[in-house]
């Protein structure tokens, strides 16, 4: 990543996508460096998948400029897609083919030697721990295995840019962790990764940088830790009590300048650093018999603060 001449993996300027009346993506700018793990976060309808589709060279931008791996995805769609790996949100595996053949046949669609495809298919089967299932039918695989096979298939052409649309939605914790582990291992190969997710922990674990989108716009962009510190601070205190009790607890604590929000009966304060007031809050809450929780700030706090609504699963 040295020197200004290094080409970005993806570069978008005033990028927009419109479907009739609906403005799905409203003129956004972002740049993903080579080798970077980059995440799109946002509630449903935020414009994540629309943006992803433009990057994948399957839908044309309505406005702005987009370069993917140094190419124009509209004019050079085939070239772009030849160098991309795509793992869609839905299961698009070929149920007419067995596990290994899903990889081998998919490899045919790329300009690469059948021998190379065959070798890579075997390696990917091993890499994604599907060895025992190589001759099984797709219908016999669990959800986690299917997703792993989708990831394996996305890697069949040794892509420079791997695009994952909600790679672990609907999976159990074991299956999610296995996918995360494999995606981390891919870093060493220099792959650039672009993913969308609903899960804050997923974004925090995997992404070097991410952007939070809502209603077609970018609300914030940066490294996960930096986003947390900039937008919410380090320490979060949640106090569950009735308004009257809360007043008595916070009396004289000088909390007016600490950003806070109230949802239902829970008041949440976002402290830059842990200080004496945190200890006092905990103590007084105990005296008044109110539930009080002190925790580290997370990406979810940033997300909720910026988008102002709960995530839809």
């Amino acid at each position: 990543m040295s020197g200004a001449a290094v080409e970005a993996a993806v570069e978008a300027t005033a990028l927009g996508k419109r479907y009739g009346e609906l403005e799905a993506v409203a003129g956004i700018d972002f740049r993903i460096e080579r080798g970077e793990y980059f995440g799109f976060l946002g509630p449903n309808g935020a414009g994540k998948t629309s943006t992803l589709r433009m990057v994948q060279a399957v839908s044309a931008p309505s406005a702005g400029r987009l370069r993917v791996l140094g190419l124009d995805p509209v004019r050079d769609g085939k070239r772009v897609r030849a160098r991309l790996g795509v793992c869609a949100q839905d299961d698009t595996l070929d149920p007419d083919l067995r596990v290994l053949d899903n990889l081998r046949v998919y490899g045919r669609y790329f300009p690469q030697d059948a021998r190379v495809t065959a070798e890579r298919a075997e390696q990917l089967i091993q890499f994604l721990a599907l060895g025992e299932k190589r001759m099984k039918k797709i219908q016999e695989l669990s959800g986690g295995m299917k997703r792993r096979l989708m990831v394996a298939r996305a890697l069949i052409n040794d892509p420079e840019l791997l695009v994952l649309d909600e790679p672990t939605t609907g999976l159990d914790p074991q299956a999610r962790h296995l996918i995360w582990q494999k995606l981390r291992e891919l870093r060493a190969r220099g792959v650039t990764l672009l993913l969308t997710t609903h899960y804050m922990d997923e974004a925090e674990r995997l992404c070097d940088r991410l952007m939070i989108m809502d209603r077609g716009k970018i609300l914030a962009e940066g490294a996960p830790r930096a986003l947390i510190e900039t937008h919410v601070g380090r320490e979060v205190v949640e106090l569950e009590s009735e308004a009257v009790v809360e007043q008595r607890i916070v009396e004289g604590l000088e909390l007016a300048r600490v950003p806070s929000e109230k949802r239902a009966d829970v008041r949440t304060w976002f402290f830059r650093e842990r200080d004496a007031r945190v200890e006092l809050l905990v103590e007084r809450a105990r005296e008044h018999g109110a539930r009080c929780l002190v925790r580290n700030a997370t990406l979810e706090d940033v997300f909720l603060k910026l988008t102002g609504r709960e995530l839809e699963e």
Binding site: R81, A82, A88, D90, D91, L97, D101, Y109
Partner: protein
């Protein structure tokens, strides 16, 4: 960059057809059984059973008369089933095409590949029925081998027609309209089972607008070894229907697959 050359149209079309051929290979036994079995049953029941009480038609026994038509009705059913139920499954239920469009493969290549596969499957069907009728001694001419390329082109035509329906289908049930209103009438009224020149005028007129009629004529001329210049008309009709249906299917499928 070593992978700079984008693969061309022919490569893409071939790979789409190849995927279907690979899948077909695993269903080869039931597929072959259908190809041989059904025309054999028609031949036995109608050709030899009913044929025993039917007088000769233009110097042909009834079995000889219907045999060439059975070749092309197999072609029609093979390509129509594949391009309706088969293609619709890949388009809608299985999302096969969605996965393909994330690769260098394009929509024009998918449409061409599907039609090409139907042509190949149809040629195979034509060859199977040709084998059956030859075993019964119903193939007097070497020109009969021509039904294999004829089956290929007719397969392209029937699959293009069927793809028009597939492109607008919302469910599998929708294909019932097509099968009942067009495919079944074609099977019965295209001159496979009775000579059109002796049929009532309305029936022979109606038959002329059915694409299968022209394919039956071509097939019969090849199997009997009696080509004539008049067949150029039938050939032209077949190619024209192919062209129009293909263009219609292509534009409808393109707008359906567009994101």
């Amino acid at each position: 960059m070593t992978r700079d050359a984008p693969p061309g149209f022919v490569f893409g079309m071939y790979q789409v057809a190849a995927r279907n051929l690979i899948v077909w290979r695993s269903y080869l036994l039931p597929s072959v059984l259908g190809n041989f079995g059904e025309p054999l049953l028609y031949l036995l029941a109608l050709g030899f059973g009913l044929g025993a009480i039917v007088p000769e038609i233009g110097g042909m026994s009834y079995a000889e008369f219907i045999a060439p038509g059975l070749i092309v009705s197999t072609v029609m059913y093979t390509s129509t089933f594949e391009a309706t139920f088969g293609t619709y499954t890949r388009l809608a239920s299985q999302k096969t095409f969605e996965a393909l469009l994330a690769t260098p493969i394009t929509v024009p290549e998918i449409v061409a590949g599907e039609v090409l596969f139907c042509g190949v499957k149809s040629a195979f069907g034509a060859a199977s029925v040709l084998t059956v009728i030859t075993l019964f001694g119903l193939t007097p001419s070497w020109l009969a081998l021509g039904v294999i390329p004829l089956g290929f082109v007719a397969g392209l035509m029937f699959s293009s027609m069927a793809l028009v329906m597939t492109a607008v289908a919302k469910s599998y049930e929708f294909f019932n309209y097509y099968f009942t209103l067009l495919v079944a009438p074609m099977f019965l009224f295209s001159g496979i089972f009775f000579p059109l020149d002796r049929a009532p005028r309305w029936a022979s007129r109606f038959a002329e607008i059915l694409p299968l009629t022209h394919v039956v004529r071509l097939s019969r001329a090849l199997v009997r070894g009696s080509p004539s210049p008049a067949l150029l008309f039938d050939l032209t009709v077949m190619l024209a229907v192919l062209a129009v249906a293909y263009i219609a299917a292509f534009s409808l499928l393109r707008s359906r697959m567009k994101i």
